[in-house]
């Protein structure tokens, strides 16, 4: 092998090596670029999931609140019936008591 041929082989190898590194650098750059898009997608998905869970938490709480409020209203209606019935039974005696108080003059 002549000296020129030897140099040519080495130069080719250097070129091939430089290309390998250049390709690797390009690929690394593409990987770095891709991560931004992956992170954005991941963020969008996770936040969408969180927002969906948040919406169902809010809906559930509202439903529970409405249910408890309805229960309170029902209990109150029953309590009011009892109050009215008891007061009705005591009405005449109360009127007499108050009239007596009214007309009691020292």
């Amino acid at each position: 092998m002549s000296g020129i041929e030897t140099v040519k082989i080495i130069v080719d190898a250097e070129k091939q090596a430089a290309k390998m590194i250049n390709d690797a650098m390009n690929e690394a750059s593409a990987i770095r670029k891709k991560i931004d898009s992956i992170v954005q997608t991941q963020r969008r998905e996770m936040l969408a999931e969180a927002n969906s869970e948040a919406a169902s938490i809010a809906a559930r709480a509202e439903e529970e609140g409405r249910f408890e409020a309805e229960q309170l209203e029902k209990q109150s209606t029953e309590a009011l019936k009892a109050i009215a019935s008891r007061a009705s039974a005591r009405r005449d005696a109360t009127v007499e008591k108050l009239v007596t108080m009214m007309l009691q003059v020292e």
Binding site: M20, A61, E68, Q75, A84, T94
Partner: protein
Amino acid sequence: MSETGKFTEDILSSAREKAKAILREAETETQRASDEAKVTITREAEAVIRNARADADAVKRRQISEARHRVKLREQQEKEKIMEGVMDRVQERTSQFVANDPKYLPLLARLIENGVHELGDGTVLVHLTKLDLERNIPDLEQRISKSVGQVKVDWSRDPIQAVGGAVISSTDGKIRIVNTLDQRFEALEPKLLIEAGKALFGE
């Protein structure tokens, strides 16, 4: 292998290693960035849910508190309505008492005597309702004569607007003792309401 072959193989081998290292570094870097992003996003998502829970609790608490308020208000209104009915009935019963009950005359006499005593000596003017002016003066004069002593009692011919009772005034009208049943009702109303509340709604 020739020396040249070994040399070129070294160059290529070194380049391969370097290329691998570049890719490895990029992958490690992206993995770290991805992990960091995941932590941040997870925190962000957790905050969304935490806030939603806090908001939901507040909504639920508000709904229950509003319901409690509504219930309490309705209960109060219902009780007030019952009390108003009772107080109206007390007034009706008082009117009936004045119209029909023989115990009214002694009561009226006491109201007049009390007013006369409060005013003191001299001459006093007693004002009565139309009904009492029509029916009770001779009886009243007889009933109060002992108790009023030296005080001269004149009977006004102008009727007062009241259910019953009397207004006792000085002759010049400057001092007036209002001993009507209406005034008693008004003065006693807070006490009557408390008693009515206890009697109607107490255990």
